[in-house]
């Protein structure tokens, strides 16, 4: 493989000014909650970097994550930076097809230390036959790719937690990358989860920029997410939060409260239990995020969000219908009536067994 150009060289070749590059680094620094003085350091680190090899594996997914990254705001420095990594294999984006594509993947895997980006969950039932690429099951492909990998980034909720394919009843036995490692089905490597359906494009590039700059995994929460992007809940950063605290709620999507921009909690907003950067980073070049558009958060960056009850049921309401209530009431009434008969029988027995005391008895 020929010497990889550095990011700085590549950017110059593509006509990206030094100024634009530094602006990106400053934005990345603020996104990662680093002091502004870190921006030049990021620029230096990224600039000197040889294009790291990246293998992007798409498994049981909808291509939404790739769409999020490539179609978000065209063309930005973020997407250019993404071009700067050597995306050696991405079967949706790469020009090569068929045997040539698979050859590119195998070539990239020869040089250890590459990054594996996964979007989509991995089917495991029936030997993983429910999703194959070029006749190779996703499970086998991931196993092979991880052997020499430096780290894995699970892009999107499907790769991070199983997502929609894993939703009940999970017909394909879909699992997340982390779950496969925990079960010993694939080699264990450091995992960064970047969940979301899809994840915010700047969060994807931000995580990659952090990894490339510092050469290490960022601080992760208990669910493997970088705390710099997933540290706060949507609710805590929501601009509608004051309405929640004042008890002002939209009751329907077109009532007065909805028009006035009141809190969407009662309409099922999962903001309080959802950790993501939507409320701060926003979408579509900082235009807005779902709550700003009038729809509650559906909690897409959390595990099993698809099975957490209706998107339109408030967080404090039961997630599932209370199926036991009627039979429990009937059973309770039956036991109660039964017990009343037992008690009456006891009382009757005591009454009939009662012997009248006589003076003679008392003298005994």
């Amino acid at each position: 493989m020929s010497r990889r150009p550095t990011v700085a060289e590549q950017l110059a070749r593509q006509g990206v000014s030094r100024r634009a590059f530094l602006k990106f680094c400053a934005a990345a620094a603020s996104l990662m909650a680093l002091p502004p003085s870190m921006a030049p350091a990021i620029a230096e680190a990224l600039g000197k970097l040889r294009r790291p090899s990246v293998i992007w594996l798409s498994f049981q997914e909808c291509t939404g994550c790739t769409e999020s990254l490539t179609r978000s705001h065209t063309p930005t420095v973020e997407s250019l930076i993404f071009d700067m990594i050597s995306l050696d294999y991405h079967h949706t984006l790469q020009a090569a097809a068929g045997t040539a594509a698979e050859q590119a993947r195998e070539d990239a895997m020869k040089e250890a230390g590459y990054l594996v980006l996964v979007d989509g969950s991995i089917p495991t039932r029936d030997g993983g036959i429910y999703s194959t690429i070029a006749g190779v099951t996703n499970l086998q492909m991931l196993k092979d790719a991880l052997a020499n990998a430096a780290a894995v980034v699970s892009i999107g909720t499907c790769a991070a937690y199983g997502g929609i394919p894993k939703a009940d009843p999970n017909p394909t036995g879909a699992k997340s990358v982390q779950a496969l490692m925990d079960e010993g089905l694939v080699p264990r490597k450091p995992v960064i989860n970047v969940p979301g359906c899809p994840p915010i494009p700047t969060v994807i590039t931000g995580v990659l920029a952090h990894y490339l700059t510092f050469g290490e995994i960022p601080e992760l929460d208990s669910l493997g997410r970088p705390t710099m992007f997933y540290g706060d809940s949507i609710h805590d950063r929501c601009y509608r939060r004051p309405f929640y605290d004042q008890g002002m709620f939209a009751k329907t999507f077109d009532d007065e409260g909805a028009r006035k921009g009141w809190c969407l909690f009662e309409l099922g907003c999962k903001g309080p239990t959802t950790h993501n950067a939507c409320a701060t980073t926003k979408w579509n070049n900082g235009t807005s995020f779902p709550i700003e558009s009038g729809h509650g958060c559906i909690g897409c960056s959390e595990p099993d969000f698809w099975d957490a009850g209706s998107f339109y049921t408030a967080l404090s309401a039961p997630a599932d219908p209370l199926t036991l209530a009627t039979s429990a009431t009937v059973a309770g009434a039956a036991i109660g009536v039964g017990m009343s008969f037992v008690n009456r029988a006891k009382k009757g027995a005591a009454k009939s067994g009662h012997e009248t005391a006589t003076l003679k008895d008392l003298e005994k």
Binding site: D221, S222, L223, S233, H235, D236, Y244, D245, Q246, G247, F249, F265, E266, P272, T273, E302, P303, D304, F305, D307, A308, G309, T313, A314, L315, S316, A317, P318, A319, D320, L322, T323, L324, A325, S327, A328, T329, A331, G332, A333, I335, G336, V337, M339, S340, N343, R344
Partner: protein
């Protein structure tokens, strides 16, 4: 099981089971208690002013003369935490949302800062009555394991709810799941412990008052 799975369980199957046991136990005990019946009182009823079931309900809701001074913590603390519980349970927006979902009834909520204050006062009053129970030899002697147990299962939902809202100790999702779980424990044990006074309190006061009124005793 991670915190999200726990939350999904307590909001789904857990709640279903807890409300099922709560309904079963409550209906069972109400049927059993009210079907016990009493022997017919053959004496002629006496009539004394202020002797009736309704009078007893009102009278026993207030401290008897002199008792407020002798045991202020029991009466004031008891009142404060019961009223506080009512505010927290029935006037916090997410709770009203739950009630509306279950029964279709809803009413305006209090601002969350007011509910916060009521929660802190409730917690403080509950701690105070517990300390008083342990400190006073007579109360301690009269207390059983059930008294401490019912105190704990009542205290925990308030505490975990407050900690969830204020993001204390554990992440919100975990704390919310623990809060709902603690309420489910409360629901399950309520019909089978002295917490059943939620349902029987006023009816038994009325019954006792009425029985005594028959004898002409205003108590």
């Amino acid at each position: 099981m991670n915190e999200v799975e726990l939350l999904n369980w307590v909001r789904g199957p857990g709640l279903n089971i807890a409300i099922g046991i709560f309904l079963l136990g409550t209906i069972w005990r109400l049927f059993e208690i009210y079907s016990l019946g009493r022997k017919k009182d053959l004496s002629a009823p006496r009539h004394t002013a202020g002797a009736s079931g309704w009078n007893t309900i009102a009278r026993r809701s207030l401290a008897p003369p002199g008792m407020l001074k002798r045991s202020p913590i029991s009466y004031i603390g008891g009142y404060v935490f019961h009223v506080g519980l009512a505010i927290v349970v029935f006037l916090f927006a997410p709770h009203i949302e739950l009630i509306e979902n279950l029964f279709g009834l809803s009413w305006p909520a209090l601002p969350s800062q007011v509910v916060d204050l009521a929660t802190v006062v409730t917690l403080a009053a509950m701690v105070l009555v517990l300390v008083d129970r342990i400190n006073k030899p007579v109360k301690r002697y009269l207390s059983t394991v059930e008294d401490y147990f019912t105190w704990a299962v009542t205290f925990l939902p308030v505490l975990t709810g407050y900690m969830a809202v204020k993001h204390l100790l554990l992440p919100y999702t975990t704390m919310l799941a623990l809060h709902i779980l603690s309420v489910e424990i409360l629901l399950v044990v309520l019909p089978f412990t002295k917490l059943f006074h939620v349902f029987t309190l006023f009816m038994s006061r009325w019954y006792n008052g009425q029985a005594n009124a028959h004898k002409g005793v205003p108590v």
